[in-house]
């Protein structure tokens, strides 16, 4: 089942890449000129994103590379010990919205320590697969069009991330526990 889905997934993009120009040609659109016209529209977007992304990534990197996360989690340790697996899952909850690669590194560490088939590894895998790097999505999407006042968007995204965390624990414990 997975193999069929994976094959479909990888075949879809090449299919789209070939069929879009073909269809446009059939509709007598000046294919190449139109492609270039659309492609040109990307430059103002890129220019608009750069400062947002640099500013955000610098802050995230400070938080990540100075070890701030493990420093503060160390202070919380007595509390985290009381809950099953919290010590291993809470860091992923906090890191996942900030950096995809950072969270992935934590996941690999769990695989190496407990094996990929342990419940805690499965919960962490599900978490990694079901959530996004929220701050990246937020920065790129709103930065691209120069939004400064993001209203309630970030709050909704982060609240969703928090709830996904508990949903993932419940679903995985129910499925694999």
């Amino acid at each position: 089942m997975y193999n069929i889905l994976a094959w479909l997934g990888t075949s879809l993009v090449p299919l789209i890449i070939v069929s879009l120009p073909l269809y446009a040609l059939y509709k007598r659109t000046p294919v190449y000129d139109t492609f270039i016209e659309g492609a040109k529209e990307s430059f103002p977007i890129i220019l608009s994103i750069i400062p947002h992304l640099v500013g955000m990534m610098a802050a995230i990197n400070v938080f990540y590379e100075t070890g701030a996360l493990s420093f503060y989690l160390g202070l919380l340790k007595p509390l985290l010990h009381k809950l099953p697996n919290a010590e291993h899952l809470v860091p992923i909850l906090l890191l996942r919205p900030l950096t995809g690669t950072g969270a992935l590194a934590l996941l690999e560490k769990l695989y190496a320590t407990f094996g990929p088939d342990a419940l805690v590894s499965k919960i962490a895998s599900t978490l990694q697969g079901s959530s996004e790097t929220t701050f990246y999505v937020f920065t790129v999407y709103f930065g691209a069009v120069g939004i400064k006042k993001s209203m309630y968007a970030l709050k909704v995204a982060l609240l969703t991330d928090l709830l996904i965390f508990f949903v993932a624990i419940l679903v995985c414990t129910w499925l694999f526990g």
Binding site: Y2, G9, L12, I16, L20, Y23, A24, T29, F35, I36, A39, I45, I46, I49, I50, L53, V54, G55, M56, M57, A58, N61, V62, F63, E65, T66, A68, F71, L107, E108, G115, P116, K122, T126, Q128, G129, S130, S131, E132, F138, V140, Y141, F142, V145, G146, I147, K148, M151, Y152, A153, L154, K155, V156, A157, T160, I164, A168, V171, L175, F176
Partner: protein
């Protein structure tokens, strides 16, 4: 909220670096972070150019309009503020489908394009509209059918059934999407 988080990351990094007696790692972290951002931008440029070029073909050939006629009602349920012929609809649809089908790097350019269309009739250019907030909420919690990256990692670590997390991920992302839509609708009503 963003302002506090941004400053908070610098301050907490500073305190952590100070506690370890290695303040210079903060400076290194700032600039390596900035460098990483430029690396990401470079990757994004090529992806954006190519997909926006292709999307122009879909737009000019009338394919996008056909897609909107077919699935427009679904978009207008999620985005009740959109006019029936709003051009953002087709890009929102393509963005959501790309996310759903896991079409790798196509989703971001399509989402940005949708944001741009939404921005065109935004009366207050530096403030997000409710539609923009909904689009962000949906992109942050899209339904995932194939978590290929994680399955790949599980294969590498020789898991007994590397694909067993596909089902849990699928279920969690469905619930996540429902949560995101609900929260978005709740805060939208409260913001008015």
């Amino acid at each position: 909220m963003l302002h506090y988080i941004w400053v908070g990351m610098f301050v907490s990094g500073f305190i952590a670096a100070l506690a370890q007696g290695k303040l210079d790692i903060l400076t290194q972290a700032v600039f390596s972070g900035a460098e990483k951002a430029i690396g990401i931008i470079i990757g994004l440029i090529s992806v954006l150019i190519f997909w926006l070029g292709l999307m122009k073909l879909a737009e000019k050939s009338g394919l996008l309009q056909k897609l909107t006629r077919l699935l427009g009602p679904l978009v207008r349920w999620l985005f009740p503020g959109l006019a029936k012929d709003h051009p953002a609809q087709s890009y929102i649809l393509s963005n959501l489908s790309a996310n759903l089908l896991g079409l790798g790097n196509a989703a971001t350019p399509l989402g940005i394009k949708a944001m741009q269309e939404l921005q065109k009739n935004n009366p207050c250019k530096d403030q997000a509209t409710p539609e923009m907030c909904t689009l962000l909420a949906l992109n942050n919690s899209s339904i995932t059918i194939l978590p290929t990256l994680v399955v790949g990692l599980r294969l590498k670590y020789q898991a007994q059934a590397p694909t067993d997390i596909v089902l849990s991920t699928f279920l969690v992302t469905i619930i996540a999407t429902v949560i995101a839509i609900t929260l978005d609708k709740f805060y939208r009503v409260r913001a008015v």
